[in-house]
């Protein structure tokens, strides 16, 4: 074979498969635990639907403001700095959001500023909105800087890049901000994010959790970014 010979598509995919398959992975967790989590998901979903009459009115009000008021889709450029976050409009149409873990964001302010950069969002405090099924595309819309950046060396900030052009029609970004009141993390803060269908979502005052077998998750702990392990 000389340098001009090329691998077939199947050969390339096989090589990628071989390499990815060589990564060690954990075996499946206990199916009973998975099913218990599934039952909890279902219960939360039903609970959220039951509470929608109140949460939905509040969320619908926020949506109406976003569509008709100063939070409309007109996009501005530049940088917005607050004590809690910095939002930068990038030339490629994306926006970079850096959260300061020592200062919790004000939901209305963040939602307003995201809207200025063309990012429809539902930012809530004490509740969190999700859609079932979740709209596809979260990984296309939200991303971190690529490998090799210095982002990973700091615990002081969290930076994400949001691409509003990648958001499917009719979707919004849901930001939920919680003050945890129970469990071993009581007194700490938690922020969650998801993509939702703006015409079909439920909001719950229960912070999302991944269950007791979750190895850890980030929280805003007493002014310091931290992770439970």
């Amino acid at each position: 074979m000389n340098i001009h010979d090329e691998l077939s598509d199947n050969e390339v995919l096989r090589a990628a498969s071989d390499s990815l398959s060589a990564m060690p992975v954990a075996g499946p967790p206990d199916v009973e635990a998975i099913m218990a989590r599934g039952r909890a998901h279902r219960a939360r979903r039903l609970s959220a639907v039951a509470g929608l009459s109140v949460a939905g009115v509040a969320a619908g009000t926020a949506l109406a403001l976003g569509l008709t008021g100063a939070l409309g889709p007109a996009r501005t450029t530049g940088t917005i700095r607050t004590a809690a976050f910095t939002l930068v409009s990038n030339t490629n149409g994306t926006a970079t959001l850096t959260l300061n873990p020592v200062q919790l964001f004000d939901p209305g302010q963040l939602q307003s500023d995201l809207a200025k950069y063309g990012i429809p969002a539902k930012v809530t405090s004490g509740s969190y909105c999700t859609s079932d099924p979740e709209p596809a595309g979260f990984s296309q819309v939200v991303s971190l800087p690529g490998p090799g950046t210095s982002q990973g060396t700091s615990r002081q900030t969290l930076t994400i890049t949001i691409d509003p052009a990648a958001m499917p029609d009719g979707t919004e970004l849901s930001f939920g901000n919680f003050q945890l009141t129970t469990g071993e993390l009581a007194g700490e803060q938690q922020a969650d994010m998801d993509l939702i269908d703006a015409s079909s979502y439920t909001c719950t005052s229960t912070p999302p959790t991944l269950g007791p077998d979750t190895p850890g998750f980030g929280v805003l702990r007493g002014g310091q970014a931290d992770g439970r392990h």
Partner: protein
């Protein structure tokens, strides 16, 4: 166990590894992927009666895992102080892992990685991948073609050198 539970358990046992590998290929982080896939299977059990009739239930699990923003957010928070993506972390590059190829895979745009992962690990055709991702089959072909071309550029010199020796 009821019949329904047994059916789900069988599906779970048989599908865990391919779904996990597909999500790892896209998400980059092993721990994040394990967490997201476990959560997706939990949701699968919560919707099992509906999912049983789904044409590609494994693809549903993978898409659900990749759409789980909450866990993504939180896992990233914990992983940030370490490395951005432990897919390419040196500690993982043992056995049959090809560091350069793994890096090349990670550097692909997310959608290309997703299409390739669904093809490799779930053995889905273009039409099924398209329906799962909500895009056109032609777009799947385009992503697959571009992704494979990028990986080929990484692989071809290596193979040529090996063959020349």
């Amino acid at each position: 166990m009821s019949n329904e539970q047994t059916e789900f358990a069988d599906f779970f046992q048989a599908s865990w590894e391919p779904c996990l590998r597909a999500v790892m290929a896209v998400a980059g982080s092993r721990q994040q992927a394990e967490d997201q896939v476990a959560d997706a299977f939990a949701k699968a059990w919560g919707s099992w009666r509906k999912l049983q009739r789904h044409p590609a239930p494994r693809a549903w699990v993978v898409r659900t895992a990749l759409n789980t923003g909450a866990s993504w957010w939180r896992r990233r928070r914990r992983e940030l102080p370490l490395t951005d993506h432990d897919l390419a972390a040196p500690g993982d590059l043992d056995g049959g892992l090809d560091a350069a190829l793994m890096t090349a895979i990670w550097l692909l745009p997310a959608r290309q990685r997703e299409v390739i992962a669904l093809r490799i690990f779930l053995d889905l055709d273009n039409a099924t991948i398209a329906s799962q991702l909500g895009i056109e089959a032609g777009t799947v072909r385009m992503h697959l073609s571009r992704g494979v071309a990028a990986l080929r550029r990484e692989l071809t010199p290596t193979k040529s050198l090996e063959d020349g020796q």
